[in-house]
Amino acid sequence: MPSPVPLIAFQHVTKRFPGVVALEDISFDIHAGELHAIVGENGAGKSTLMKILSGVITDYEGQWSLRGQAVRFQGTRDAEKAGISIIHQELNLVEELSAAANIFLGREKRTALGLLDDRAMERAAGKLLVELECHIHPWQLVQELRVGDQQLVEIAKALSLETEILIMDEPTSALTEAEAARLFRVIARLRARGVTILYISHKMGEVFRLADRISVLRDGRRVQTLPREATNARQITHLMVGREMEAVHLGNQRQSGAVVLEVRNLSLPWTGHARRWRLRDVNFQLRRGEILGIAGLMGAGRTEILECLFGANLEPLHGEILLEGHSVRFTHPVEAMRAGIVLVTEDRKRLGVFADMTVGDNITICDLAEAAVAGLVSRRSERRLADDMVLKMGVKTAGIHASITSLSGGNQQKAIIGRWLLTRPKVLLLDDPTRGIDVGAKAEVYRIMDRLCRDGMGIIVTSSELPELLILCDRILVLCEGRLTAEFARHEASEQRIMEAATLGQT
């Protein structure tokens, strides 16, 4: 119910970063007690706006008011005092501390002697966790918890702060169905307590299930705010991208050729873990000119399969890998690379990009020997290699001498794919290649994959987004806890069937 004074009112909020306007003249209201979804592509300004609300960003133009009063936070502490908490996509917990210690971090309860009162904290934490249907012990270390439980610890922390406004940034991105369902119940309970929730997501299903109103941001501007009843997913998507999402038909009439890669009884041990095997008895084949998808929840072993194929597995594997009919066993990625198998890693920032280097250096790093004569790198041929690849991949950059970190996520990803294409691989492994990149760049990555595939490359791709696999893949394998539980040809696959196979035996 809209109250006369909005809980939060943005008035002409603008935030500029050097060279970029992240937010431009944002004005809209958030009512007390509502669940307000904020949607937009990556780079639309959602996170920036939330950082202003939570006191992370303190210098911006314009103003906003809380309960009718203009406020300007000097830091996150001010926001906490005002009752605003944020649950980041990447959780903000100290893994080496217990759940209770995390919940009371910085506000520890103390005994009369000034010592830590762990008992009191654990009691209070336990009460909060039970309330959240989180069946863990407060003294358990956070690193032992599943992602879904870790997230609830964060929510418990927010509750212990007597939060009135809770910001949730893509909270379901790492959750299983069951965990997501529990989260939705928790959200309902929070709302019953009168907590106002700002919910950032790009999953239309969730947004339409939870939200009262939906605000769409695009390129730093607020496009529109709509009540849920007055709109539909199609319209919101349209507002987000500024154009209708064309139904992509990429996979049509692709011809797959001979088997290029075969995996027989692949198992990967997991020392010191209850499951014992990261992967168990995995068998599959990949053909030339085929895109093979691997679906599965977090921790199902998607990344591990690709690491095994690339020689980047940390423990010795069991079973056999055949490349063009010959058994291969790689002990280092360089051997896989020379044999013609390359991997574009999942975590671009941590495992892919060399942040101190230029775009050009990032592209040529794997194939530098090509541009070298007697060990000395020829600047000219290196530049040619990099320039060609920038053009071929459509990397939007000020030039190959620009810093890689000045590029958007999508363009960084295109540069990294280009890096590997320079080595002319037979098999391209892509681990969640479109994670954290915007819709436009996603479509470009899809087209690149389609083109490579038509040129006869064998591609294996994993993704945390099922629709993506359904668009791209000729076949989809489904993993559940390290085992292959299903294989679908393109025409057999559906989100429903894949989800069922991915959660076999899970409640």
């Binding site: 050097p18 210098d59 990625p333 991997l343 790093i365 530098l368 070298a372 990397v395």
Partner: protein, 432 residues
């Protein structure tokens, strides 16, 4: 957040590469060296730099070359994401090995201070360089196979090699000459000429720096070393053989330290493992850091390192010229201060230090007291004999400093409004 400027890829023009060359951070160090030289010329009451530039230049050149040779190694290891704490001990150890080899091959000549054969000298030198390679390999094994952090591995050899060198020298002298000695005297003028000639260390330094520059900036290996330092995991997953690169980096560092060790025993005409190269590893690391190498790895250049060494040595020489007596006593203090100022300066230039409050809060009070005490003590130590006693002078200087700092603190406090607009870390990354 997307922040890519929407522009088409363009071929680098000559203008752009000139612009990049002019924007290189090394120019700041060139200016700093020039400023130090000019200041020294002005402040030194004998004006040595004007009237007698040759001697000063030769002295600075000698010191710069000796320190520079093994600082190159420190820089390469730091750029590759590691750290080599052992160079001072490697200098002492390889110097001792070189002298020991000469004693073993020519015991009579060494004892009687006669000339050694050229074969003896060159064999001793080659043997020492091989020992350097072995030390580097030991570091690489400890780090890549055993899995020790580089800090720990090289800390172990820092402590261990010096004492091993001493034990070898004592035992070899006892066994060959019958008298146990903690050092070996070196009389051979041809061997000593290696160091005393000045031009040999200088040319060696220039050649080695040139090779190191070529390696780091022009070869595949150099690019891979940068990649390894910048992001080791990504480097491994890019098919870079990180373990071999580390082996190379630590070997380069150890061999360069061995070369320095040979030069130092020539310079000092003795191999005294207990004192030789004591603490030099930190000077080398300091030079690399002043020259722009980041201890996080991945960032740094050889020209920067060379300038870092030059800057360090000119400052030390300058202070020695200005305060005349006991300048070597202050060497450590100078190196420490230069590192703090140079690195802080670089960081503020990158991140914008304006609006930052240096003296706020209780730590600010402690800092004001700290700096005032330092100023007072320095005044008492360095003061020319005047009508005031040292104690009085220290008191006055310290008091004035404290007063100035309190005023600064007050001014900073009034700037609260500005502090808010200081860019956040995330913004800085964007602008970088």
């Amino acid at each position: 957040m997307t922040s890519a400027p929407p522009s088409v890829p363009s071929r680098a023009s000559a203008y752009a590469s000139l612009r990049r060359a002019l924007l290189r951070p090394e120019w700041g160090l060139v200016l700093a060296v020039a400023a130090v030289v000019v200041l020294t010329g002005l402040l030194d009451d004998r004006h040595n730099y004007w009237y007698n530039p040759g001697d000063s230049a030769i002295n600075v050149l000698r010191q710069t070359s000796m320190l520079g040779i093994f600082s190159l190694g420190a820089a390469i290891v730091i750029i590759s994401g590691g750290i080599d704490l052992s160079s001072g001990s490697v200098i002492a150890f390889s110097g001792s090995i070189c002298a020991t080899l000469m004693v073993l091959m020519a015991p009579e000549e060494m004892k009687a201070a006669r000339l050694l054969g050229l074969g003896t000298i060159s064999t001793a030198i080659v043997g020492t360089l091989v020992v350097g390679l072995l030390i580097g390999s030991l570091h690489a094994w400890l780090i890549t196979v055993v899995g020790l952090p580089p800090f720990v591995a090289t800390l172990a050899t820092l402590v261990g090699l010096r004492s091993l060198g001493r034990a070898i020298v004592e035992n070899v002298t006892a066994a060959t000459w019958g008298g146990r000695s903690t050092q070996i005297q070196i009389y051979d003028s041809r061997f000593r000429y290696l160091a005393t000639s000045v031009w040999i260390p200088a040319v060696l330094f220039v050649v080695l720096a040139g090779l190191a520059w070529l390696l780091l900036s022009r070869t595949v290996i150099g690019r891979h070393l940068h990649a390894l330092g910048g992001n080791e995991q990504a480097a491994r997953l890019s098919g870079i053989q990180t373990d071999r690169l580390k082996w190379l980096a630590y070997c380069i560092s150890a061999v360069l330290s061995s070369i320095a060790g040979i030069l130092y025993i020539g310079d000092q005409s003795a191999a005294h493992p207990q004192t030789l190269g004591q603490g030099y590893e930190l000077n080398a690391i300091a030079a690399a850091v002043v020259g722009g190498c980041s201890l996080r790895g991945g960032v740094g250049t050889i020209p920067g390192t060379v300038l870092g060494v030059l800057f360090l040595r000119t400052v030390i020489d300058g202070v020695a010229k200005v305060i005349k007596t006991g300048a070597d006593v202050y060497e450590g203090l100078i190196v420490g201060s230069v590192v703090v100022v140079a690195v802080a300066f670089t960081q503020f230039r990158q991140a914008g230090g304006r609006g930052k409050r240096f003296l706020s809060g209780p730590l600010g009070i402690a800092t004001a007291i700290n700096l005032s005490l330092l100023a007072g003590v320095l005044a008492a130590l360095l003061a020319p004999k005047t009508f005031l006693g040292e104690g009085m002078l220290a008191l006055i200087t310290g008091g004035v400093t404290l007063l100035v700092l309190i005023v600064l603190r007050w001014i900073e406090g009034r700037r609260t409004g500005n502090a808010r607009t200081a860019p956040l870390p995330s913004d800085k990354l964007r602008s970088a």
